[in-house]
Symmetry: C3
Subunit: 273 residues, 3 copies
């Protein structure tokens, strides 16, 4: 019933507050609009509590964090927690610097995220409290594959249990777990990794899915992952000779714009372990 989750976004049109990096922020805004939600961006400490109060969800992405925006993340996060809003953390580059790792860990400790969404290297960093992330991409050595899938799913479940949230670990195979069950998702294409910000876009969209489906958070997170991967597949079908990552980027957002329940139901490729 993942497909209900996209319908819920389109009918409730949640307003999502994003404290996110300036690299991919435009794409985050456009994919939120594409899926039927509405974005607002604000990272000034003085106003973030008020801004988040009028929203249904808060997406915190540390991709280009600085001291001012870190303060905003905590202020907005506490308010969103107090109001019971959908609250998501995207720990971009956790492990690449002490500031990123520490900030992500402190955010986890103080706030109650519904979902933490990152690549496997970032999530491993959070699990260990330190990391070896090489930039903002996952280490190849960490990748979840068909060979180590059982181990990966067990890690996702354990991380979710310990962190008290849903873990959404995205890569060639995506894992979404609430600590009990684990969605194993095989949508998407490797070429999506050649576009900046598909992960950031997914985090923004997932926050809207969480806000629109408060009664089935794990399903909502999995639905967003399926929708993003499926959009990558649909978009790839529309690529023409000479098209590259810039065109692919637009076509993925376009595919979300047109995605309906039937498309998502027919195209979602997942199993539950």
């Amino acid at each position: 019933m993942l497909e209900n989750c996209i319908r819920n976004v389109r009918t409730t049109r949640p307003l999502v507050h994003n404290i996110t990096n300036y690299v991919t922020v435009n794409d985050v805004a456009n994919i939120l609009l594409a899926c039927g939600a509405s974005p607002i961006m604000s990272d000034e400490p003085e106003e973030v509590e008020e801004i988040t109060s009028i929203c249904g969800g808060l997406n915190i992405n540390i991709g280009t964090l600085n001291k001012r925006t870190i303060e905003s993340m905590f202020r907005a996060g506490r308010k969103a927690k107090e109001l019971g809003h959908a609250l998501l953390l995207d720990p971009v580059g956790a492990g690449a610097s002490t500031l990123r790792t520490d900030t992500a860990v402190r955010l986890m400790d103080e706030l109650s995220f519904q979902v933490i969404r990152g690549n496997i290297s970032e999530i491993k960093t959070l699990a260990l409290g330190s990391g070896t992330t090489k930039g903002v991409d996952a280490d190849v050595a960490d990748a979840v594959t068909e060979e180590n899938l059982e181990e990966g799913a067990a890690f996702a479940k354990e991380f979710a249990r310990k962190a008290g949230c849903i873990a959404a670990i995205t890569g060639a195979i995506d894992l979404v777990s609430d600590g009990k069950l684990c969605y194993v998702i095989r949508n998407g294409r490797s070429e999506m990794g050649r576009i900046t910000g598909t992960g950031c876009q997914l985090s923004g969209m997932m926050t809207a899915f969480l806000a629109a489906s408060p009664d089935c958070q794990c399903e909502a997170a999995a639905a967003a992952v399926c929708a993003m991967g499926l959009a990558g597949e649909i978009a790839w079908e529309r690529m023409q000779a000479g098209d590259g990552n810039a065109t692919y980027r637009s076509r993925i957002i376009d595919a979300i714009y047109h995605m309906d329940e039937e498309t998502l139901k027919a195209g979602a490729k997942y199993e539950i372990r």
Copy 2:
């Protein structure tokens, strides 16, 4: 004679200083280049006066304001006022936070804007000094429609008179008034609301139109509104199966790139009340 205004931009190529949000800033730069103007972005208090001095217009957009950029808005604004430059305020999200409302009101009080351009909820917030804006989109309840058009035009005129500027209130029907007459503009498509930043882009482009046509400011503002809406119509004609808001975004800027006086003259849909 609205069409003269686009010719003036293409012949004088005004340099426009933008203190604008980081969400849509790339699109603002590209639409300024598309219409024949030249953009520069700068929001460091130490340099904004110098930067604005070499420009012909200043576009202030509070979409992701922070304390540093607010200071820059005032510094640059005072300098632009002193030099008699085209000066535009886009009060993004006024009403959504006290900081936004207060900043917009203080900017209005201290500077002499040629134009304030926003959606109806934002402008109502400025008229009242407080607001109920839901995020960065207009409240449906506030929308200007054929049914309440007389009332809307009267509000636009009154706001313009009291604020001592041109009011450009955009939505399904756009209103541009200098306090005496009111342009009622019916270009554009509702799908433009599914793209982030069409309003920000319009504000940037309008500043170029104002800088290029100092002797007919109200006409210049109306011409920019018609051009943007018409670009939305032309771009929509070029949409193909599967295209969505991301592709639409690019096609609108492309349509501005190709817009000439004849196209604008033939396509502008407006009346004066």
Copy 3:
């Protein structure tokens, strides 16, 4: 053998740290991914040294500098210099404000850039220590043309010698000099100037080329210039009726995505003086 330089990027996949402006940052990230490199953006003083340490190159672009990011430029730059990383300066708008000119000059004095890449007006500003740049575009009066080419090449060589770096001066005709020889490059199209950030994109990509080919830095810089210009030519061939600068922007990045050694070898138009 310029074509080897693009192969080296694709095989070594360098991670490039960018402290760059928020206007064109998304395009810089996407073109780095398109050419086979990997981008990371970070401008918080507390973490930039750590971030740059895990990278192979640092691209410093002063397009929307502020006091916080200026500090980050120096901190990251010193670390990159200490580690012997590829280090590039893009002095966007040098000459347009005292802060930009002074910051660029101080960066030059303190760091050891492999390459300084800018338009002719920006580089002349750095040569003189002051300037008359009109915004972020080159003055027409300064342009390098077939008529003043000898003079231009002599200036590029002299600047490179005095600054102790490679000078990459881009415009209708591009010049890349290490002080001894000067590549004169005739790839590209004038329409590229109607897109925001083609220069910023080139700087990001060039940093990857420098990081991937440490033994032939001047060749690597020239190869990046040829690749960018050639991408502009290939992208233009793919333009359809109604396409404008927004579509052109995507198609250029797409062309980089597909560029291989054969394409670059066949399409590079340069002579060495």
